[in-house]
Symmetry: C2
Subunit: 213 residues, 2 copies
DNA sequence: AGCGTGGCACGTACGGTGTACGTCCGTCAA
DNA sequence: TTGACGGACGTACACCGTACGTGCCACGCT
């Protein structure tokens, strides 16, 4: 029985699989090894330590994003597509999202999207400094959005409790919060994400217009 | 010698202190107890478990934000102030920031800022649904910004290496990234944050104008 | 005064974790 | 044939969260 030889990619894949199945807290070298039907210490022949493994997980997830960039499309559409591509992470690997955003990886895995985004921004007339600033703002927004999206599901979503029992909040201290309970309780992540993306694009467009004037 | 009696606030304070001194990874019930000069299990008389302790840390840090809201000021200025208030977290408790954003707490600690922000937004003419959307977008941006700001300091900042050795990136595959190396390498977090905040405010203002028309 | 009683500090113990180190074995080069 | 070497694995250690039991002390009641 020629079992697949142990390898770094196989270990990383098992780790991702485990995180998606049982959550990021459940991950341990022993569990991964068990899932692979292998001794714990064998992992260390391919991965220096657990932190590096998690970095590899983040890198793998990140590099799995499908960026389809159409250079002929309107720049607003291109920005939209790139933003949506990032959000795919939260869809394909919801439980891994926290891992991805919480470790800053210093590998070229994240460079391709950066390059694409900078190219897009510069092609519409922003200078380098401004392109970088805008990119950073976009990334911040996207990261924050992903965190909201996956944070709402801690491990298993309970039935459906909004963050606070709305009955408990004092209507005189928090009138707005109370009257907007319905809106605050529900959250269509996709609509929310699109709304913010459009707002950002409009802001950028406005800045661009002012700049060209 | 009447030692201060053990109490939940004292435990939480010790936890925050430990995190700030040694990083979020270093925290353990045993270390906290040792810092307080107390047996480990004594902690459990005041805190049900470690997760609850971390929630309490998040809540305490969050409720420590100084929100000064001037109802007479321009709404743009009020939004600015509230955004900056959040960013104080990253200044006062840099190592705790990850803890704060990574646990979704279901306590009224985060309600005050929400209430203020909603009130501000509604006072300038947004309806409830839109106010909530805008607030969510702002929070996403702020959270993402804070993560960038503190993520740059993993544990101890090395000398000063930008995320990638710029020499290593291929200039033909990543021309923009390469040519903007200087801009990408340096990051004035305050300026960056202000830039994004202003852009967001402008976007909101634009939306408001369109809405009133 | 005597006597519960309940809260709190604490020790011990158990199952789990990351990983340093040593051992064994299969493969391949000389 | 032999030597070296890389990879799989077992053992061991320090540390983790926390369930459980024990003892102390301050209090309210009779």
């Amino acid at each position: 029985m020629p079992v697949e030889p142990l390898s770094r990619p196989r270990i990383v894949a098992a780790a991702i699989d485990l995180i998606e199945r049982e959550g990021a807290d459940a991950i341990s070298m022993r569990r991964i090894a068990a899932d692979l039907g292998v001794g714990v210490m064998s992992l260390y022949n391919h991965v220096p330590n657990k932190a590096a493994l998690l970095d590899a997980v983040a890198e793998t997830v990140l590099s799995g994003i499908e960026f389809t960039d159409d250079p002929d499309a309107d720049w607003t559409e291109r920005v939209r597509m790139q933003a949506r591509a990032f959000r795919q992470i939260a869809h394909h690997y919801p439980r891994c999202t926290m891992v991805v955003v919480s470790r800053q990886l210093q590998s070229p895995a994240g460079l391709l999207p950066v390059e694409r985004a900078l190219a897009t921004l510069r092609s519409v007339g922003f200078d380098g400094e401004e392109a970088v600033r805008i990119l950073r703002m976009f990334i911040a927004y996207i990261v924050g959005s992903l965190l909201r999206e996956v944070g709402v599901t801690p491990t298993f979503a309970p039935v459906h409790h909004s963050q606070v029992d709305i009955e408990k909040v004092d209507p005189v201290l928090f009138p707005e919060t109370r009257s907007l309970a319905a809106e605050l309780g529900a959250c269509d992540h996709e609509a929310e994400f699109e709304f913010g993306t459009e707002l950002l694009i409009q802001a950028i467009a406005g800045r661009l217009a002012r700049r060209k004037r």
